[in-house]
Symmetry: C2
Subunit: 208 residues, 2 copies
């Protein structure tokens, strides 16, 4: 059985990662969705264990100390992290897993999983991104200003990624991500081992 592929969906604050992942989850039910741990407060409608594992800072520090997180980062005053065991187990079972994480976390995952496929969700333009962050209306002005400057810095990190998907229209963005998943399963590296085994069998049997 061939190993699953780790897909990391990231991008600047406010680009719509969560919304895209929600739609993707319904469109591709066979894809395993990694749930992150965080110390930030739940937004309206978010459920513990579904959108995030919501943790206190004390609980989160314990996970860091016991090496239970694949990556973790502080972002706008809160911790975010990816539980390690679940990712490893899913890949070894031959299933794909997708992580939706902030840019800082994605770069750390890249260090540990260079074979992962890193997808950068882009706003149609920087002005569009600005509107989305301001329009969310759940944070104070100081937080909004900080998120804006961070988001612009994050856009500069595109060159660390394998793919860029413009989130102009959610269904289109999801179709592009779905195509990337299919295409990655067609990379020649995934076929070479089995092919050479078949060719050896043919040579030994001398039947072609």
């Amino acid at each position: 059985m061939s190993r699953g592929i780790l897909f990391v969906l990231s991008g600047p604050s406010g680009v719509g990662k969560g919304t895209v992942c929600g739609v993707l989850r319904r469109k591709l039910p066979e894809l395993i969705y990694s749930v992150s741990a965080t110390t930030r407060s739940p937004r309206e409608g978010e459920q513990d264990g579904v959108n995030y594992f919501f943790k206190t800072r004390e609980q989160f520090h314990h996970m860091i100390e016991t090496d239970a997180l694949l990556e973790h980062a502080e972002y706008v005053g809160n911790y975010y992290g990816t539980p390690r065991d679940f990712v490893e187990k899913t890949l070894s079972e031959g299933k794909d897993i997708i992580l939706e994480i902030e840019v800082q976390g994605a770069l750390k995952v890249r260090e540990k999983f260079s074979e992962g496929v890193f997808i950068f969700l882009m706003p149609p333009s920087l002005n569009e991104l600005k509107q989305r962050i301001v329009g969310r209306g759940t944070e104070s002005q100081a937080t909004i200003d900080h998120r804006l400057s961070v988001a612009v810095e994050e856009m500069n990190l595109l060159h660390h990624y394998d793919y860029a998907v413009v989130n102009d229209e959610i269904d289109q963005a999801c179709n592009r991500i779905s195509s990337i998943i299919t295409a990655e399963h067609c990379k020649r590296e995934r076929f070479l081992g089995e092919l050479f085994q078949q060719l050896e069998t043919v040579k030994t049997a001398d039947n072609v």
Copy 2:
């Protein structure tokens, strides 16, 4: 306007390249389909200028001498080649073009277009490939034997390609190729130039 992408669909003799390309052509009408020149005789139903440009050996030699071919190769006693102008013109117009060619020709195109995307159409197994070549029933036994040994050698060339698509079921194979085309348009390299231009504008205007 960004440049189009050259996709090369190749694979061993008998794998079903022509059939897959025929279906793909109906599914993706916006994709430009490169028509090869050849000296082999038309098979039943094949039309000049649609399936191939059918040429005499004299005509073909003239095309070689005038550098009108991107690549050419002799294969089972016949010449095959790709007219150069049409490919260059299509890419510069920002349109994608797909070439369906034999393995030898594909490797030559790779030398001239390292930025092309090379897709290897695979049989589900080597035994399946053997059945398809024997079952076509349009060639002599000597030709069949030659095609079989050539096909096995050609399978060894998979490692020169970017992707492998198993032709187990034609619609599935076409969907995989369509996904590869979409994914290649999402490669980060295609976005970096425009992004950095936007970021420069933002810095200059100091409006974010």
